[in-house]
C-alpha cells in the first residue's frame, strides 16, 4: 500500500522540473498567452506590493 503524503500543487504544475530551458520558456510563454483570458477580471487588482485594488473613481480605494 502506498503511504499518503501532503499535496500542495498538482502533478501538472510540478512537470516543469523535467523541461529543458528552451521547453520551459516555450511553456511559460504559452501559459502567459492563455492567462490573458482573465485580464478583464483582474483589471483593477494587484498581485504584489502594498496596494490591493485601483481606486474606484470618486470613492477612493476600492
Amino acid at each position: 500500500m502506498t503511504e499518503m503524503q501532503d499535496e500542495f500543487l498538482s502533478e501538472e504544475d510540478l512537470d516543469l522540473r523535467n523541461l529543458s530551458e528552451a521547453e520551459l520558456i516555450c511553456v511559460w510563454n504559452e501559459w502567459l498567452k492563455q492567462a490573458q483570458n482573465s485580464n478583464d477580471l483582474d483589471e483593477h487588482e494587484y498581485s504584489h506590493g502594498v496596494f490591493t485594488r485601483e481606486p474606484i473613481a470618486g470613492n477612493g480605494l476600492g
Binding site: M4, Q5, D6, F8, L9, D13, L14, L16, R17, L19, L24, I25, V27, W28, N29, W31, L32, K33, A35, Q36, S38, N39, D42, Y46, S47, H48, G49, V50, F51, T52, E54, P55, A57, G58, G60, L61
Partner: protein, 267 residues
C-alpha cells in the same frame, strides 16, 4: 536575448550592473515549480541611478503608471510599491517594484545583493521567496509547501515545511534540530502531540501569518486614502504623457498626498 518578456526585462534592468532581483511568481517559475502569475515582480536597489535606469527601460516599452507610489526612493524606502503596465504582442505585462520586500530584514537584504551579484538571471532563492510568499493569499501557502520540499538543509525544511507528516518524520530523525527550530517556529512544539495536533498548529500558524499581512497592508491602504481619492484626476493628467513626464507629475502630486513612511508598515 531570452524569449520571455520577464527574463528580457530582468536582463535589461540589470544591464551594466545588478539592480533588480526577480521575485514573486516568475521566480517560482525559475525554481521549476509552477506557472501561476501573469505579472512581474522585482526587488530593486534603493538608489537614484537604479530607479532612473528602470524608468528609462520601461519607457522604451511604452509603460504607463498604474495606481501606486512613484518609483522614487523616498517612497520605496518606506515600503511602498510602484506599478506599471504595457502591452507586448498579445500580453498585458505588469511590472511591480519594491526596495523593501516584506519580511526580509535589512541585514538579509544586504546579503541578498551580495549573493545575487553574478547570478544570471538574478532571482530570489528559496528561503527568501518563502518569506515574501507569507501573504494574505491562501494559494501562496501551497507554493510555500512545495518550495520547502526543494530546500536542501534539514533546518530550512523544519523552518518552512507545511506538511505535518514530513515534519513529524523529521522530528523523529532530528530531535536536536527540531528543538532548536521550535524557538523560531512555535507551531513545531505541537509535534510531540502527534499528527492532528501538528496539523492544527500549522493551520493556526497560516491564519496568523495571513492576518499579520492583512494588518500590514491595511496600514498602507489607510495611508494611501488621500492619494487614492486624487487618482482619477492624476491618472487623467498623466494619460498620453511620456513616462518621464508622467513620473515627474506623479512625484510632484504625491508630495503632500502620499506619506513616504507608514508607521508599522515595514517588517
Amino acid at each position: 536575448m531570452n524569449k520571455n518578456i520577464y527574463l528580457n526585462l530582468t536582463d535589461e534592468f540589470n544591464s551594466g550592473r545588478l539592480r533588480a532581483i526577480l521575485s514573486g511568481g516568475q521566480a517560482v517559475v525559475l525554481h521549476r515549480l509552477a506557472l501561476m502569475s501573469k505579472d512581474g515582480d522585482w526587488i530593486l536597489r534603493e538608489d537614484e541611478e537604479c530607479v532612473g535606469h528602470i524608468l528609462s527601460t520601461l519607457e522604451t516599452y511604452g509603460a504607463v503608471y498604474r495606481f501606486g507610489a512613484p518609483l522614487d526612493i523616498r517612497w520605496l524606502s518606506g515600503g511602498w510599491s510602484a506599478h506599471f503596465e504595457f502591452r507586448r504582442e498579445d500580453i498585458r505585462v505588469r511590472t511591480d517594484f519594491v526596495t523593501r520586500p516584506p519580511r526580509l530584514s535589512s541585514d538579509r537584504l544586504a546579503c541578498l545583493w551580495r549573493e545575487q551579484e553574478h547570478r544570471a538571471p538574478p532571482f530570489l532563492d528559496i528561503a527568501d521567496l518563502i518569506e515574501t510568499k507569507k501573504t494574505n493569499r491562501e494559494k501562496d501557502y501551497a507554493v510555500i509547501g512545495e518550495l520547502a520540499r526543494l530546500t536542501g538543509s534539514i533546518e530550512d525544511k523544519l523552518k518552512y515545511s507545511r506538511s505535518a507528516r514530513e515534519l513529524l518524520d523529521l522530528a523523529g530523525r532530528y530531535p536536536g534540530s527540531i528543538a532548536e527550530i521550535t524557538k523560531q517556529r512555535p507551531a513545531l512544539a505541537a509535534s510531540v502531540d502527534g499528527l492532528e495536533a501538528l496539523e492544527t498548529a500549522l493551520d493556526s500558524e497560516r491564519r496568523r501569518l495571513i492576518h499579520a499581512n492583512e494588518d500590514r497592508l491595511s496600514r498602507y491602504l489607510w495611508a494611501a486614502e488621500a492619494w487614492g481619492q486624487a487618482w482619477s484626476e492624476t491618472s487623467h493628467t498623466i494619460k498620453g504623457k511620456s513616462l518621464t513626464m508622467a513620473h515627474r507629475y506623479m512625484v510632484e502630486r504625491a508630495q503632500g498626498l502620499l506619506p513616504t513612511t507608514v508607521p508599522g508598515g515595514l517588517p
